[in-house]
Symmetry: C2
Subunit: 104 residues, 2 copies
Protein backbone atom coordinates (compact mmCIF):
# COMPACT_ATOMS: atom_id res chain seq x y z
CA UNK A 1 0.00 0.00 0.00
CA UNK A 2 1.41 3.40 -0.98
CA UNK A 3 2.33 5.64 0.61
CA UNK A 4 3.45 3.51 3.51
CA UNK A 5 2.63 4.81 6.98
CA UNK A 6 6.28 5.67 7.62
CA UNK A 7 6.59 7.60 4.38
CA UNK A 8 3.49 9.64 5.13
CA UNK A 9 4.71 10.39 8.65
CA UNK A 10 8.15 11.39 7.36
CA UNK A 11 6.72 13.59 4.61
CA UNK A 12 4.25 15.29 6.94
CA UNK A 13 6.91 15.85 9.59
CA UNK A 14 9.28 17.33 7.04
CA UNK A 15 6.55 19.69 5.86
CA UNK A 16 5.62 20.65 9.43
CA UNK A 17 9.25 21.43 10.26
CA UNK A 18 9.47 24.00 7.49
CA UNK A 19 10.90 27.24 8.86
CA UNK A 20 11.76 25.69 12.23
CA UNK A 21 15.26 24.83 13.47
CA UNK A 22 14.36 21.16 13.23
CA UNK A 23 15.95 18.75 10.80
CA UNK A 24 13.94 15.81 9.52
CA UNK A 25 15.42 12.78 7.91
CA UNK A 26 13.97 9.41 7.04
CA UNK A 27 16.06 6.31 7.66
CA UNK A 28 15.53 2.80 6.48
CA UNK A 29 15.18 1.03 9.80
CA UNK A 30 15.27 1.84 13.50
CA UNK A 31 15.33 -1.85 14.39
CA UNK A 32 12.19 -1.45 16.44
CA UNK A 33 9.88 -4.02 14.87
CA UNK A 34 7.93 -4.67 18.06
CA UNK A 35 6.64 -1.12 18.46
CA UNK A 36 5.63 -0.46 14.86
CA UNK A 37 5.78 3.06 13.42
CA UNK A 38 8.80 4.71 15.02
CA UNK A 39 10.83 7.89 15.13
CA UNK A 40 14.05 8.91 16.82
CA UNK A 41 14.79 12.37 18.18
CA UNK A 42 18.35 13.63 18.60
CA UNK A 43 19.99 16.79 19.84
CA UNK A 44 23.72 17.39 19.84
CA UNK A 45 25.28 16.40 23.18
CA UNK A 46 21.92 15.36 24.65
CA UNK A 47 20.10 12.11 25.29
CA UNK A 48 18.54 10.55 22.18
CA UNK A 49 14.97 9.24 22.18
CA UNK A 50 13.15 6.52 20.29
CA UNK A 51 9.38 6.59 20.06
CA UNK A 52 7.15 3.80 18.76
CA UNK A 53 3.46 3.06 18.33
CA UNK A 54 3.13 6.29 16.36
CA UNK A 55 0.33 6.96 13.86
CA UNK A 56 0.65 8.17 10.29
CA UNK A 57 -0.77 11.50 11.53
CA UNK A 58 1.70 11.94 14.42
CA UNK A 59 3.75 14.62 12.64
CA UNK A 60 2.40 17.49 14.76
CA UNK A 61 3.21 15.57 17.94
CA UNK A 62 6.75 14.95 16.76
CA UNK A 63 7.25 18.62 15.98
CA UNK A 64 5.82 19.63 19.35
CA UNK A 65 8.21 17.23 21.04
CA UNK A 66 11.16 18.40 18.98
CA UNK A 67 10.48 22.01 19.89
CA UNK A 68 10.25 21.13 23.59
CA UNK A 69 13.55 19.29 23.19
CA UNK A 70 15.22 22.15 21.32
CA UNK A 71 14.21 24.63 24.01
CA UNK A 72 15.04 22.45 27.02
CA UNK A 73 17.80 23.92 29.14
CA UNK A 74 18.68 20.56 30.71
CA UNK A 75 18.91 18.71 27.40
CA UNK A 76 15.96 16.43 28.17
CA UNK A 77 12.52 16.41 26.57
CA UNK A 78 10.29 17.66 29.40
CA UNK A 79 7.40 15.43 30.45
CA UNK A 80 5.11 18.36 30.97
CA UNK A 81 3.61 19.46 27.70
CA UNK A 82 4.84 16.38 25.89
CA UNK A 83 2.13 14.97 23.58
CA UNK A 84 0.55 11.78 24.91
CA UNK A 85 1.88 9.81 21.96
CA UNK A 86 5.42 10.71 23.04
CA UNK A 87 4.71 9.61 26.60
CA UNK A 88 3.05 6.28 25.90
CA UNK A 89 5.24 5.68 22.88
CA UNK A 90 8.63 6.06 24.56
CA UNK A 91 10.69 3.05 23.53
CA UNK A 92 14.07 4.06 24.94
CA UNK A 93 16.43 6.93 25.54
CA UNK A 94 20.19 6.75 25.06
CA UNK A 95 22.70 8.96 26.85
CA UNK A 96 25.12 11.07 24.82
CA UNK A 97 28.54 9.57 24.29
CA UNK A 98 30.06 12.50 26.17
CA UNK A 99 28.61 11.41 29.50
CA UNK A 100 29.48 7.78 28.92
CA UNK A 101 33.19 8.52 28.68
CA UNK A 102 33.79 9.31 32.33
CA UNK A 103 34.08 5.75 33.52
CA UNK A 104 36.75 3.36 32.35
Amino acid sequence: MRPRAGEKLADDTLAAAHGLPIHVRSVECLGNCKRRLSAAMLRDGCWSYVFGDLKPDSAADLITGAQLFANATDGLIPWRGRPDSLKRGLVARIPPLSITKDLT
Copy 2:
Protein backbone atom coordinates in the same frame (compact mmCIF):
# COMPACT_ATOMS: atom_id res chain seq x y z
CA MET B 1 16.85 -7.43 46.52
CA ARG B 2 20.53 -6.47 46.37
CA PRO B 3 22.39 -6.34 44.17
CA ARG B 4 19.74 -5.48 41.64
CA ALA B 5 19.99 -7.24 38.29
CA GLY B 6 21.10 -4.04 36.57
CA GLU B 7 23.83 -3.39 39.11
CA LYS B 8 25.18 -6.91 38.74
CA LEU B 9 25.17 -6.64 34.95
CA ALA B 10 26.90 -3.26 35.08
CA ASP B 11 29.53 -4.43 37.56
CA ASP B 12 30.24 -7.62 35.63
CA THR B 13 30.43 -5.75 32.33
CA LEU B 14 32.81 -3.19 33.79
CA ALA B 15 35.02 -5.99 35.08
CA ALA B 16 34.90 -7.84 31.76
CA ALA B 17 35.89 -4.68 29.87
CA HIS B 18 39.10 -4.34 31.86
CA GLY B 19 42.03 -3.88 29.50
CA LEU B 20 39.80 -3.51 26.46
CA PRO B 21 39.11 -0.26 24.58
CA ILE B 22 35.53 -0.38 25.84
CA HIS B 23 34.06 2.13 28.26
CA VAL B 24 31.30 1.02 30.60
CA ARG B 25 29.00 3.35 32.40
CA SER B 26 25.81 2.77 34.34
CA VAL B 27 22.94 5.21 33.89
CA GLU B 28 19.81 5.61 35.89
CA CYS B 29 17.23 4.88 33.25
CA LEU B 30 17.07 4.02 29.56
CA GLY B 31 13.31 4.58 29.51
CA ASN B 32 12.75 1.05 28.32
CA CYS B 33 10.41 -0.38 30.94
CA LYS B 34 8.74 -2.81 28.57
CA ARG B 35 11.88 -4.77 27.75
CA ARG B 36 13.30 -5.08 31.26
CA LEU B 37 17.06 -5.28 31.80
CA SER B 38 18.61 -3.05 29.16
CA ALA B 39 21.88 -1.73 27.84
CA ALA B 40 22.84 0.82 25.20
CA MET B 41 25.89 0.59 22.97
CA LEU B 42 27.43 3.68 21.41
CA ARG B 43 30.35 4.39 19.13
CA ASP B 44 31.40 7.87 18.06
CA GLY B 45 29.83 8.82 14.73
CA CYS B 46 28.00 5.49 14.42
CA TRP B 47 24.50 4.19 14.98
CA SER B 48 23.60 3.66 18.65
CA TYR B 49 21.89 0.49 19.84
CA VAL B 50 19.55 -0.35 22.69
CA PHE B 51 19.19 -3.94 23.85
CA GLY B 52 16.59 -5.28 26.26
CA ASP B 53 15.51 -8.60 27.77
CA LEU B 54 19.07 -9.07 29.01
CA LYS B 55 19.99 -11.33 31.92
CA PRO B 56 22.12 -10.48 34.93
CA ASP B 57 24.79 -12.72 33.40
CA SER B 58 24.79 -11.07 29.95
CA ALA B 59 28.07 -9.21 30.53
CA ALA B 60 30.10 -11.50 28.26
CA ASP B 61 27.55 -11.05 25.46
CA LEU B 62 27.71 -7.27 25.80
CA ILE B 63 31.50 -7.31 25.62
CA THR B 64 31.42 -9.60 22.58
CA GLY B 65 28.97 -7.23 20.91
CA ALA B 66 30.99 -4.18 21.84
CA GLN B 67 34.13 -5.70 20.38
CA LEU B 68 32.32 -6.54 17.14
CA PHE B 69 31.08 -2.96 17.07
CA ALA B 70 34.51 -1.48 17.80
CA ASN B 71 36.08 -3.49 14.97
CA ALA B 72 33.32 -2.96 12.40
CA THR B 73 34.54 -1.04 9.38
CA ASP B 74 31.04 0.09 8.41
CA GLY B 75 30.13 1.38 11.87
CA LEU B 76 27.38 -1.20 12.38
CA ILE B 77 27.33 -4.15 14.77
CA PRO B 78 27.52 -7.12 12.39
CA TRP B 79 24.73 -9.70 12.63
CA ARG B 80 27.14 -12.57 12.08
CA GLY B 81 28.84 -13.49 15.32
CA ARG B 82 26.49 -11.36 17.38
CA PRO B 83 25.39 -13.20 20.56
CA ASP B 84 21.79 -14.42 20.40
CA SER B 85 20.84 -12.13 23.28
CA LEU B 86 21.86 -9.13 21.16
CA LYS B 87 19.81 -10.40 18.21
CA ARG B 88 16.59 -11.22 20.04
CA GLY B 89 17.07 -8.33 22.45
CA LEU B 90 17.43 -5.52 19.92
CA VAL B 91 15.08 -2.76 21.01
CA ALA B 92 16.10 -0.02 18.62
CA ARG B 93 18.99 1.59 16.80
CA ILE B 94 19.43 5.32 16.35
CA PRO B 95 21.41 6.94 13.55
CA PRO B 96 24.27 9.30 14.38
CA LEU B 97 23.40 12.97 14.33
CA SER B 98 25.94 13.47 11.53
CA ILE B 99 23.86 11.54 8.99
CA THR B 100 20.65 13.18 10.11
CA LYS B 101 21.90 16.62 9.18
CA ASP B 102 21.78 16.17 5.45
CA LEU B 103 18.09 16.87 5.05
CA THR B 104 16.50 20.16 5.92
